[in-house]
């Protein structure tokens, strides 16, 4: 099989995802995959490449362009004992299935007083910086963070992509996976993945860089913008800690609080719009729970409250940049 783990070979983010899904399909005969063009084509980005050849249409179902039905049928499968991986061709299109996610699937366990659970993973390519324009660039995680009953993860490395996807596919609850499509094939992120079965548990943040002058909390593609800013600041003698949340719901507050005890300064960065975005959630929780550790007003950098425009200068204008992060970080450090 093309996705078999090979020792010593460095693998990209996309391969991590592919291996995770293929391995879980192998070990869990109850797992069904559904989505648009996920069969013969292997999905718009190739994440499901090879699945239909191995498991056939019974378990790898090409769906009509009907996001609401895709999610709703998946809910019915879960109700009747199956687990389902749903691919959104782009995470932007998830809005077409919104009601079936937030009102049907996310509430199922709650409204049945625990009788029914929904082991459903909804995953799809997300994120801007690639010229995808308004409808192929979104990070709409806040819609769902505000809808109780859905877990949300955003891995940023091949290792996490594979380990978290496997954990999500084994999780008894609905899990939304924001796959940053600009990381899918990034060469500099390639790494050797463990040969043995492993998972990365949901709800645990990862400290991607240690430092004691400032804590930057981020996730997704912005992890790399923040790491670059941290490198810039290192040259000026400042040590910035970068926390990759990886999991938004549940949120690993403890790791952030521990970091703030040391750095006393907080900057949160995400590429979603500002108002009611997840960066704001992190800020308010830390204002409530870590106020006494803070020596500077906590701050955030987000996309402007605009859609994501198409051509490059416009797109970059509205999104967080390394320069912005560096500048804001310096202000906080020197506060």
């Amino acid at each position: 099989m093309a996705t078999a783990t090979e020792t010593g070979v460095k693998k990209n983010f996309l391969t991590g995802l592919k291996e995770a899904i293929a391995e879980e399909m192998e070990s869990n005969p109850n797992l069904i995959c559904m989505g648009e063009d996920i069969g013969a084509l292997g999905g718009a980005f190739g994440v499901t490449d090879g699945l239909i050849a191995r498991w056939g249409r019974e378990r790898v179902i090409d769906m009509p362009i009907s996001e609401a039905a895709i999610v709703g049928v998946a809910a019915g499968l879960c109700l009747n004992g199956k687990s389902v991986m749903v691919e959104m061709q782009f995470i932007d299109f998830i809005s077409c299935g919104f009601d079936q996610i937030v009102n049907m699937t996310a509430t199922y366990h709650y409204r049945t007083a625990g009788e029914v659970n929904m082991p459903m993973v909804i995953r799809g390519p997300a994120g801007a910086y690639g010229g995808g324009a308004l409808y192929h660039s979104q990070m709409n995680e806040a819609w769902f963070a505000n809808s109780p009953g859905i877990k949300i993860i955003v891995p940023s490395t091949p290792y996490d992509a594979k380990g978290m996807m496997k954990a999500a596919l084994r999780n008894p609850d609905p899990v939304l996976v924001y796959e940053i499509k600009d990381l899918y094939r990034r060469r500099d992120l390639e790494e050797v993945l463990p040969e043995e079965d492993y998972i990365v548990p949901l709800g645990k943040a990862s400290v991607r860089r240690e430092g004691d002058d400032l804590t930057i909390v981020t996730y997704g593609q912005n992890v790399y913008h923040c790491l670059e800013a941290a490198k810039n600041l290192e040259k000026e003698g400042y040590h910035v800690e970068v926390i990759d949340l990886r999991s938004l719901v549940p949120l690993d507050e403890a790791t952030i609080i521990e970091s703030l005890k040391k750095t006393n300064r907080l900057l949160v960065v995400n590429e979603a719009p500002m108002t009611c975005g997840f960066a704001g959630e992190v800020l308010s929780r830390m204002s409530e729970k870590a106020f006494e550790y803070l020596d500077a007003p906590p701050a955030r950098i987000t996309r402007l409250d605009t859609p994501v425009p198409w051509v490059k200068p416009l797109e970059l204008f509205v999104l967080p940049s390394v320069e912005q992060i560096t500048e804001k970080a310096l202000k906080l450090i020197k506060y």
């Binding site: 609401a68 039905a69 019915g76 499968l77 199922y108 709650y110 049945t112 609850d173 949901l202």
Partner: protein, 375 residues
């Protein structure tokens, strides 16, 4: 029965022997059972309307008065292992599912009257521990899909449960109940389209009661018989007289047989009329949008009266017996318990008593069961 250029019945029977009516195989006992079930559904409805007026119930009550023929007729054509997806106006369906196996048969695959009353009264005995209101209950074990307020919202789930059953080698079907108002929802079309593509055994019942809350059908769609929508999906569409429990039974059996044979989904439009307002909250205001004469006309074809007439014609009921328990044609404020068979009243009394005496869930349960697992 509507006959159009693409007569849905003809489509349905294409290449097959003309279907015998399923009701031809019913015995006199079946007829009596069906009549008793019509009484049960009616009594449940009028009793709850009275309980609500007495102030003993919370929430909104969506009356199924005059639409019992659809619930009873459709359920009577199913196997215990089949799935149903009732909505707000089908409350009796939750406890009447698989009544054919015996109302008090412990093996019956349907909710108990105690569970359904527990839900109506908001008590711990509710299958959903009273977390959501009115008809928003269900049961995986009893094969009842948990309803929500989003109309047509559970049709995809009905498609999904049959897909899972088929993967497991089972030939169960799913019957979804829907008002004609829900047919304008996008998910209605998405789900039935996919069921048609996959030939999944999903029967979509349209309870066409002429009114979507305050909106008449001519503002909802531009078809004579809604069942013709089925042509657009490439599936059969049948039209039944929703006031005639036997016609509903026959059409649903026809659709079920078609599905069970692997031919895929179908739509059964049951023409009926809503006696009351959308919910009890607009009973007093329904006259604002619906003329009183229309209501009087609509209530004339009472499913209990129609069934009695058929039974008298068939000699299953004497005219004197038919005159007993005259619940037909009466509204909730006009009937008394004496208008119903005593076993029907006793059955519901048991549920009401159980619900009244059961405790309300503890407050802290409001914070429970968001996730199965913390991470």
């Amino acid at each position: 029965m509507a006959t159009t250029k693409t007569d849905p019945d003809q489509r349905h029977n294409e290449g097959r022997e003309p279907a015998k009516l399923a009701s031809d195989l019913l015995t006199a006992d079946d007829y009596h059972e069906l009549l008793k079930q019509l009484y049960m559904a009616r009594y449940f409805d009028v009793r709850l309307i009275k309980e609500k007026k007495r102030g003993r119930l919370r929430g909104t009550l969506y009356s199924s008065h005059n639409q019992e023929g659809i619930i009873v007729g459709a359920l009577y054509g199913l196997r215990p292992t089949d799935w149903i997806s009732p909505i707000h106006r089908d409350m009796p369906a939750f406890f009447m599912k698989d009544f054919r196996s015996g109302w008090d048969n412990p093996e019956r695959v349907g909710m108990t009257i105690e569970e359904v009353c527990g839900q109506v009264w908001g008590k711990v005995t509710s299958p959903g521990r009273a977390r959501d209101n009115w008809s928003h209950i269900g049961s995986r074990a009893k094969k009842i899909i948990h309803s929500t307020s989003m109309l047509a919202g559970t049709i995809p789930a009905a498609v999904g449960v049959t897909l899972a059953d088929r993967l497991n080698g089972l030939d169960s079907v799913a019957v979804t109940f829907n008002g004609e108002g829900s047919t304008a929802q996008g998910v209605f079309h998405e789900a039935i389209n996919f069921a048609a593509v996959e030939k999944l055994p999903v029967i979509t019942i349209i309870e066409n009661n002429q009114w979507a809350y305050g909106t008449p059908t001519h503002y909802e769609y531009s078809l004579e018989d809604f069942a013709r929508r089925a042509d657009g999906f490439g599936i059969p569409g049948l039209v039944a007289d929703g006031q005639d429990v036997l016609d509903v039974y026959n059409k649903v059996c026809q659709a079920v047989e078609f599905s069970r044979a692997g031919n895929g989904p179908s739509i059964v439009e049951c023409k009926t009329f809503r006696s009351y307002g959308h919910g009890d909250h607009d009973d007093d205001r329904a006259e604002k949008y619906r003329p009183e004469e229309e209501v009087e006309e609509g209530r004339k074809r009472d499913p209990i009266a129609i069934m009695k007439k058929i039974m008298v014609e068939k000699g299953f009921l004497s005219p004197a017996e038919a005159a007993k328990f005259p619940a037909e044609g009466k509204g909730a404020s006009e009937v008394t318990d004496e208008d119903f068979p005593p076993e029907v009243v006793a059955y519901l009394n048991r549920g009401v008593e159980s619900a009244v005496n059961a405790p309300v869930p503890e407050a802290h349960e409001g914070g429970m069961w968001v996730f199965r697992e913390e991470n």
